[in-house]
């Protein structure tokens, strides 16, 4: 089993990418399970994902990287035991730190679950990049810095020049992380992500 944690700020495109990746893995004959966590007591993503025909475990109320550690571990164990997925995709809240989610799962590796790979896909949104980098730089960088691959999403909403400028800035900030530009809605660039996962 491979586990992918989709990290990234509120509205960056995590759920949209999740559904694209899930359908591509399914088409390749892989069994996919999904865990989604939202900040409040009420979630919207779970409903959206289920409407696409995927089985999603929703973990509302709180954040899996801070207050829901035990809940996340239990859910991972349960999903693995109930469904035996080849791929487990986890979408934390848009304000979670994905590396914390990773550590929480690593803590049960070998005892309660076995997996081959656990990777973080960090997603950022072209359209609002300038705002976040100006107003919330520290948090933004903290959220993305432990990614195994960085996805510059919503490229369809900016010019090629703007996209290149963002990709340039991101690669300066994170010189050792692979960067892929993508449009999660059109699917352009998603195959490339699958290749590095």
């Amino acid at each position: 089993m491979n586990i992918y944690v989709l990290g990234g700020f509120l509205g960056s495109g995590k759920t949209t990418l999740l559904m694209k990746i899930a359908s591509m893995f399914s088409e390749r004959g892989k069994k996919v399970s999904i865990i989604v966590n939202e900040m409040g007591t009420i979630g919207v993503d779970g409903t959206t994902i289920k409407r696409q025909g995927y089985n999603a475990v929703e973990l509302p109320e709180g954040c899996i990287c801070c207050t829901l550690t035990g809940t996340l571990q239990k859910s991972v164990i349960q999903v693995v035991n109930d469904y035996y997925p080849d791929i487990l995709i986890i979408e934390p809240t848009g304000l979670a730190l994905p590396d914390k989610v990773k550590s929480i799962i690593e803590a049960i590796k070998g005892t309660s679950v076995e997996y081959d790979q656990l990777k973080i896909v960090g997603i950022l949104d072209c359209l609002r990049f300038d705002i976040f980098i100006t107003k919330k730089k520290d948090f933004y960088l903290k959220q993305l810095m432990h990614s195994d691959v960085l996805v510059v999403n919503k490229k369809d909403l900016v010019s090629e020049k703007k996209l290149q400028s963002i990709v340039g800035q991101v690669s300066e900030m994170f010189p050792n992380i692979k960067i892929i530009s993508m449009s999660a809605t059109s699917g352009d660039g998603v195959l490339e992500i699958l290749e590095v996962l």
Binding site: F9, L10, G11, E38, M39, G40, T41, I42, G43, V44, T47, T48, R51, C63, C65, C66, T67, T93, G94, L95, A96, L97, K100, D125, L127, R128, I131, F132, K135, K136, F139, L157
Partner: protein
């Protein structure tokens, strides 16, 4: 205790479920825009996500607002229904939670959206304009 990542970022979220009667997606879009504009005024920018999923037995749609210039985006279909169950949530940065709650209620009232909100910790109101 250590701050949570939500607290570090200054995040606030409000959500509720319920049932909408006089379903009019244009009015719901406009209601969501009003909330987005309120956040922008309050926090300087909308750094967040306002979203709603609506579903009936047959169909369903998700509405997303992350950027005021892009507006509310629709994913899915809900053409044949006059009423639907909904999940609604706003998650954003740098606003006061009770003020946000008020702004959401105001936007619902301004747009005369008739909905019943399920019992929740935050909301006990029932709105009817029929």
């Amino acid at each position: 205790m250590d701050k949570t990542s939500i607290e570090i970022a200054g995040g606030v979220s409000i959500g509720f479920t319920g049932h909408i009667h006089c379903l009019d997606l244009e009015r719901i879009d406009s209601m969501m825009m009003e909330i987005g504009e309120w956040i922008e005024e309050e926090a300087g920018t909308l750094m967040g996500h306002i979203k709603m999923s609506l579903k009936t037995k047959e169909e369903g749609i998700t509405l997303n607002l992350t950027d005021l210039s892009t507006g509310v985006e629709h994913h899915g279909d809900l053409r044949n229904s006059k009423s639907a169950n909904f999940n609604f949530m706003v998650a954003t940065l740098d606003v006061d939670k009770s003020k946000l709650e008020r702004a959401i209620m105001d936007a619902i009232e301004h747009h005369e959206i008739c909905l019943d909100i399920d019992d929740s910790k935050c909301f006990h109101k029932h709105h009817h304009y029929e």
